[in-house]
Amino acid sequence: MDKKNIALSIKGLSKTIGKKEILHDINMECYAGEVFGFLGPNGAGKTTTIKTVVGLLLLDEGEIQVCGHDIIKEFEDAMSNVGGIVENPEIYKFMSGRDNLKQYARMRGLDFSEIDKAVEMVKLTNRIDDKVSKYSLGMRQRLGVAQALMHKPKLLILDEPTNGLDPQGIKELRDILKDLAHTDGVCVVVSSHLMSEMELMCDRVGIIAKGKMIGTYTMEEIASLSNDKYTEYIIETDDAVKAAEILDGGENISAQEKMLYLKLETENAQQDIAKAIKLLAKNDINIYSVHPKESKKLEEVFIELTGAEGDGQVG
C-alpha cells in the first residue's frame, strides 16, 4: 500500500447544525488502493462527514482535499475524482438502468461506451435495459455502484452500502469493492455501523463516535486489540464448586453452577488447560466439555472504543 498517495484528506472538520455540534475536529486520511471503513454507531456523524466530502453539505470549518484538490476552491477538479452513493442509491425509477447511466455520463462528459464496462463490472448486463422500478434493492445498489464508478473516480465513497442487502448481495458488493481497491487502485471509503461487515471488507477503519474521531486502525491493530493477555476456558462439569477448590487458582477461577471459568495466560494456555483436565480427572470430577471462550470479537472492541467516547450514544 502506497501510504503517500492520499486520496482523501480531512483536516479539522467541524460542523454545527443549529446549536448542535454534529462534528468536532474530524481528521483522517484515506489512501489509494485501500478499502477504508468509516465506522461508528448510528448518529455518530458518518453521513454528515460523507455528505460534506461530496459537497452535499456546506463546509463550516476545516479543510477537505480530494486527490490534493480543495473541495471548495477547486470544486470541479475535486468532484471529478469523486464517486459516491449517500444513504440510498439515487436513481430515477421511471427510467431504465441504462438511461440512468446515460444521464450520469452526460453530466460528467463521459463516452457512452463506459456504461457497458461499468455495468459488466457490477454484473447487471442482462437487466440494464429494464426499468429501475423493477429492480431489487440489491440490483439498485449495484447500479448505484456502477454509476459511482463509471467515470473511474480515484475516491469512491459509499454510505452504508450493505443496508438492506441479503448475504449474497453483500458478498457480491464486497468482492466488487475489494477488487476496485486492490486491482484498480481506487480509494474506497465505506461507512457502516457494523464492525463484522468491515472486518471482511476493509484494510483500515476509522472510528467515529458522537461527532469525534476516535482513531484510525489497520485491521491488524484492531485484531491485536482484541487479543488479550488471558484466554478464558469454560469447563462443563457436574460439580463446579468442588472442581474450583481442587484447582485452587485464586481469582483466576470462578464457578457458576455447573460451569467452571478459567482465566489462563494466553502464552501457556494450552499446557495449563491440559494439566487442569488431568487433575480434575484424577479427582473423579466428571468433565462433559471443555472449550475456550472465543477471543474478544471486533464488535466488542468497537463497542468498547465507541462506548468510552460515546457514553451510550449507540442506537
Binding site: 455528505k51 452535499l56 444513504e87 439515487e90 436513481i91 438511461d99 452526460r106 453530466m107 460528467r108
Partner: protein, 440 residues
Amino acid sequence: MDRLGKFFELVKNEYIKIYKKKSTRILLVIFLAVCICFAPMAKFINNIGMKEFGAAEFDEIAYRTEALQDRKREIENSPDMPLREEKLALIEAVDVDSDWEFSAYLNGMYDDANKQDIQTYTLLCKTNDWRGFCSYNSKKIDCSNRDKWVYKYKLEHDIGYGEEFEEKNALIFKIANAMDGSTEDTDSPEESIAKYRYQLENELYDETSKKDVSILEANYSEKFGFWDVMIKIPYVESFIGIIMLMIAGGIVASEFSQGTIKFLLISPAKRGEILMAKYVTVISMGFLLMLLMFLVNIPMVGMLFGFDGISAPYLALKEGEVVAQNTFIYLIKNFMLKSVQVLITTSLAFMISSLMRSTSLAIVTGFIVNSIGTPVIAVMSGYKMDWGRYLIFANTDLLTIYKGGASFPQQTVGFAIIVVVAHLAVFLLTAWDGFTRRSV
C-alpha cells in the same frame, strides 16, 4: 468539454427526464390533440354560425327591377303627382345593373327633388355619365361635407362604380363613416381614416389590423379566412401555460422527493448551473411547444380555411404614420407580450419548487396566483386603491397597457416592465439562493 457544451448536456438531461415521465407524455398527447382539433373545431363552429345566422342570398338586381316596376305602376296610377312625366322618363332611363344610376333614381324620387334634378339625372343615366352624376350631386346645396368629399375623391382618382371598384368604394364608404365619427372597432376615427387611406392609396384591400388578438370575437355568420382562425390560437396557447406551470413546479421538487437530488449534486457541475439548466429547460420548452403549435396549426388552418389572405399585412399607426407589418410577426410579437403572465407564474412556481421542495405546493400556488390576479386588480382598480399599480398582476398584461387599457391611471409600459423584471429577479434569485446554499 467546454462550459457551454456541458451546460447543454445538463439541459438535455432535464429534457430526457421530463420526456421519460408518463405524466408528461400524457400531457403532451393532450396538447397535441388540442392543437390538431383546433382548426376542425373552428370550421365546425363557423359552419353552424353560417347556417344559423348567415345572410340569405340576396338578388340585388331582382330587387331593383321590382322596385322600379312598383314605382312606375304607382306613378301611372296617380295622375295628380307633380313631375309625373319627368319621373317616368327617369325610371325608363335607369339601368338596374348600375349602382349609381339606381342611386340617381332614388334621389329623383325624393319629394324635394325638383324638375332640374330629375331631368339632369335622366340625361346622365342615358349617357352613362357617372362623373356628371358625382359633380352634379357635389354641387347641390344640401350635399353634406361627407358626401362632397366622397364625390370629389372619386372624381379626382377616377374611381367609378361597378365590380372593378368594389373594394375602393367600400373603403371610401368606411372613410366617410369615420368622418361622421363612426368606426368599426376601438381605433379612433382619425386612426381609422389614416389606415383606410393607406389601404386605398396602396390598393391594399385585405389587412388584418381589425382582427385584434386580444379580442377573441368574430362574426361567426361570415366565412372565416385564414387569419380569422389564426388569431384565436391563444385558446391553444393557454394550454402551454398550464404545461409549463406543471413542469416548473416539479422540476426541482421532484428531485428531492425521489432522492435523486444527491445524484444530481454529487457531480462536478455547480449547483447554480444545475438550477439554471432546469430553468432554461422550462422556458425553452414553452417556446418549443409554441413552435409545435404553429407547425401543426398553420397547415391545418390553411387546409380547412384556405391560404387566401395569408399575405395580408397588419396596419399599425406609429406617430401618425401608418406602418404595414407582417401579420405573422405581429402575432408572434403579441404572443410574447401575452407570455409575460406565463413567465411570471412559471418563475414563481419554479421558485417555490426550489425553495419548499414541494411539487404540489408549487403548482397550486401558481394556479391560484394565475386565477386571482386579474380579479384582485379589478377590485383594487374599482375601489381606487392606487398602490395596486405596484402589484405584479397589474403589470403583466403589457399589450393592454401599451394600448392604454391599464387598470390604473397613467400606468406606463416602462413602469410595467420595471415591475415585471424586478419580480422575475426576486423569484430567480430566491430560487438560486435556496438551491445553492441549502444542505441536502
